[in-house]
C-alpha cells in the first residue's frame, strides 16, 4: 500500500467503517511508515480537540427572543394553544 492509498482510506479507518481486509493492509502500512502514523495520530487529535472544545455558547437572551418570536407567530394562527 502506498501513502496516497493510506490517505484515501483514512476517514473510513478513523470512523471504523472499513472492511477487515483493508484495515489489515492499513495497519501493515503503519508498521513501517512513520509519516502516515503521525498523520493518523494528529488527525485523530484534531477531531478530538474540536469535539472537546465547544467554541460557541448560546448568546445571552437569544433563547428568550426566540420564544417571544415563536409566541408571536403562534398567536397569528388559529390552532395555537397555550401561547403564554
Amino acid at each position: 500500500m502506498k501513502c496516497s492509498e493510506f490517505l484515501t482510506e483514512l476517514t473510513d479507518y478513523l470512523d471504523g467503517s472499513i472492511t477487515t481486509g483493508i484495515r489489515v493492509e492499513l495497519e501493515e502500512h503503519l508498521q513501517w511508515c512513520h509519516e502516515c502514523e503521525v498523520v493518523l495520530n494528529t488527525t485523530k487529535k484534531t477531531i478530538e480537540i474540536y469535539r472537546n472544545n465547544q467554541l460557541y455558547e448560546l448568546p445571552d437572551g437569544l433563547r428568550m427572543r426566540l420564544q417571544e418570536a415563536i409566541i408571536k407567530k403562534c398567536k397569528s394562527v388559529k390552532s395555537c394553544k397555550n401561547p403564554e
Binding site: 484515501t8 476517514t11 509519516e35 498523520v39 467554541l55 427572543r65 420564544q67 403562534c74
Partner: protein, 208 residues
Amino acid sequence: METIQKKAENVADELALVQAAKSGDLEAFSQLVKRYDRNIFRIAQHITHNEEDAQDVVQEAFLKAYTNLEQFQGNSKFYTWLVRIAVNEALMKLRRRRSDKTVSIDEDVETEDGSMPREVADWSPNPEQLYGQSELGDILKKTIQGLPPGFRTVFVLRDVEGLSTEETAEMLGLSVPAVKSRLLRARLQLRERLAKYFKSRRSGDNPR
C-alpha cells in the same frame, strides 16, 4: 455516548413532541427549541463566522420550522430537517456578506493533492495544554474559519455535532461519497493548519 435504548427513547420522544406541536401545542415546540437551539447556533456560527448572522439564522430556522411543521413528514428525524433549514439559511447569510455570490455547499475548490500532508512533524503529547483556554479557542476558530464553507460545514456536522455520514449527506443534499471526500479533506487541512501551533517545539520557538 448515548446507549441505543436512550437514543430510541429520544427519537420516540421527539416524534411525540413534533406531533403535539403540529396540533398547535406551543409548549411542545418550545421544548424542541430548547433541545436544539445550542446546536443550531453553533452550526450557524461556524458557517457564517458572524454572531449577529448566526443569531438571525437560529431565529429564522426555528420560525421557518414552526411555520412549515405540517410539511415535516417524519421520514427523517426532526433535527435532521431543522439542520437542513438552518444550513440553507446560514449559507444565504454568508452569500450576502461575501462579494463572492457563488458560496454553496458544493464548493469544492481543492484539487485531489491539495490535501496531501506536507507537515509531518509529530505534535506535543498534550497539545491543548500548550495554550490557555481562550487562546486555544481563538486558534481553533481561526483555523476552521480558513476552510471553504463546504468543507467546514461537513466537518462541523460530522465531527463536532457527531452526526452520521448518511445524516450529513441528507441534510446537505450531497451524496455519501461527496460527504466522505469533503470530510477527509477538511480533517487533513485542519490537521495541517493546527500543526504549526501544536507540533513538538523547543522552548523559545514561536508558531509562524
